[in-house]
């Protein structure tokens, strides 16, 4: 499989198909990154679109020296910062509460059909609780947690993406996991210790 960096290089040479492959490869990841940050599908899609738009229009600034995902998530982080600035300028804070949608994908919905109704509800409740638990984290911890757990990034990559030391990533992850654990235990999701 062609690497992301190679696809980006091909795109720099004018091959739009290469860019489309990159979008196909990373759209769900970027979308989930934003979705887990804001809990709002529409806003997450807008931000995802913005990331790919910037990637497209600033393609020439990419050099093979950085890992592509690091480069892309750095753009995502900047998009997020810009968005937050705009929101603050308009004087209204974005609610971090999740919107009332089940957030299930097609596969989940299909597989959920085989479950009993009460199992469905229970599962949805659990997911809602986990979304709430995530939303309850301070933004700086949530970003680190999402990059690590949802995007599967190593601490070194997160450090490069967010431009903060690895030690800070470690401590943010530690606090984030402690808070999540406390929340989940309180709501009976992880069981008694």
């Amino acid at each position: 499989m062609t690497s992301d960096a190679d696809l980006m290089m091909q795109f720099q040479k004018g091959e739009r198909e290469a860019f489309e492959k990159l979008v196909m490869r990373h759209q769900v990841g970027i979308f989930n990154f934003f979705y887990r940050l804001v809990g709002n599908r529409e806003l997450a899609e807008d931000q995802t679109q913005e990331v790919f738009f910037r990637l497209y229009t600033h393609a020439e600034s990419y050099t093979n020296s950085a890992k592509f995902t690091t480069y892309m998530y750095r753009i995502a982080k900047n998009c997020w910062i810009d968005h937050m600035r705009r929101v603050k300028r308009r004087g209204r804070m974005q609610s971090l509460d999740k919107e009332t949608e089940n957030g299930l994908n097609l596969y989940d919905n299909l597989s959920a059909q085989t479950e009993e109704p009460h199992e469905n509800l229970e599962r949805e409740d659990k997911r809602n609780m986990i979304d709430e638990a995530l939303a309850s984290l301070p933004e700086e911890q949530r970003v680190v947690f999402v990059l690590s757990e949802i995007q599967g990034m190593k601490y070194a990559e997160i450090s490069e993406t967010l431009d903060i030391p690895v030690g800070t990533i470690k401590s943010r992850m530690h606090v984030a996991v402690s808070r999540l654990r406390e929340y989940l235990t309180r709501h009976g999701i992880t069981g008694k210790e």
């Binding site: 860019f19 020439e60 986990i130 999540l180």
Partner: protein, 324 residues
């Protein structure tokens, strides 16, 4: 490492993020301390629960289309990276060079007639290129005044050899028009999958609706409404079985290709009505004959007016199937 220090490292340990030395110290503590082992188990349970429930969410079906539209509008990506990189690296290189090296180069030019001639030729070529660029720029026709990003994009994309960009600009010109209603400007352009109407200045971002209705005599192509769009959509969808609803995305409304191709004939005019709370786009081949009838129909709307795209402009571009 004591027990408390080890506790702080357990999340990193669990995730395999510790360097070997620290890892060994944590493992040493884990052997000694039951509290540490319990803590590690609890961390494991937390991650298990999170991984089980944090499933990836899929994007909506509209996402790809909206992104494709937006990218279509964007300027072309860098295609001559080599050139830019050469300039950048030259700058860097020159910055790094010390003065004696420059002097050495001049001395070298003095010594070598070939090197000196090469330098002169390069300087002449650069001067010619710069002159040519400014000449081309001064003779290039100006786009109509607008602060729309598309206009800027077109200026950038006037690179003769860039066929894709030229095609895009042709599209823009072909379907670009301005309403005669004061303070209201809209643009329609050809895009993969249909005709796109920009509505940023007149419509709300969300909740607007496009309907395309082939209603026989008065061939209404699209009715765009704002706040009251939903009830109107439902009633019209009931009345006209062939009607299709579409959505506003990024301040643009896309009229689906099936409609654009079937009902928006390339040789006919496109009329935009601003009817106060709603905008209507009409595509009527027999506009001239039916003009008075249309005017009667829209007489009750104080702000009604229309704008049109000339048949010649519509004829510039091939249809999508031909293009493919």
């Amino acid at each position: 490492m004591n027990e408390n220090e080890a506790m702080l490292e357990l999340v990193s340990y669990y995730k395999g993020e510790l360097e070997s030395e620290k890892k060994a110290l944590v493992e040493e503590q884990l052997e000694k301390s039951a509290a540490c082992r319990k803590e590690l188990e609890a961390i494991g349970r937390t991650f298990d629960a999170l991984h089980k429930e944090l499933v990836p969410i899929e994007l909506s079906a509209h996402f790809r289309m909206a992104l494709a539209d937006r990218l279509d509008e964007a300027t072309q990506p860098a295609q001559t990276k080599g050139g830019i990189e050469i300039i950048r690296s030259s700058e860097r290189h020159l910055r790094d060079m010390k003065k004696p090296a420059v002097i050495r180069m001049v001395e070298h030019a003095k010594r070598s007639p070939y090197f000196a001639a090469s330098l002169l030729l390069h300087a002449a070529a650069v001067t010619l290129l710069v002159g040519f660029y400014f000449h081309m720029r001064s003779t290039q026709p100006q786009q109509p005044g607008s602060n729309n990003q598309l206009v800027v994009s077109n200026e950038i994309s006037m690179i003769p050899e860039d066929a894709a960009t030229k095609r895009k600009m042709d599209r823009f010109n072909a379907y670009s028009f301005r309403s005669r209603v004061p303070g209201f400007t809209t643009k329609a352009e050809y895009a993969p999958g249909g005709i796109v109407v920009n509505v940023a200045q007149t419509m709300k971002e969300d909740g607007n609706i496009v309907l395309d209705v082939n209603s026989g005599l008065s061939c209404v192509v699209a009715i765009l409404t704002d706040g009251e769009g939903q009830p109107a959509t439902e009633s019209i969808l009931k009345e006209f079985p062939n009607a299709v609803a579409a959505r506003i995305q990024n301040s643009r409304i896309k009229i689906p290709s099936t409609v654009a191709m079937d009902y928006m004939d390339a040789t006919s005019n496109l009329h935009v009505f601003d009817l106060g709370s709603q905008i209507e786009i009409w595509n009527e081949p027999k506009w001239t004959e039916l003009k008075s009838e249309f005017e009667k129909m829209t007489a009750s709307h104080a702000s009604s007016s229309y704008a049109l795209c000339t048949p010649e402009r519509f004829a510039i571009l091939p249809r999508r199937e031909e293009e493919a």
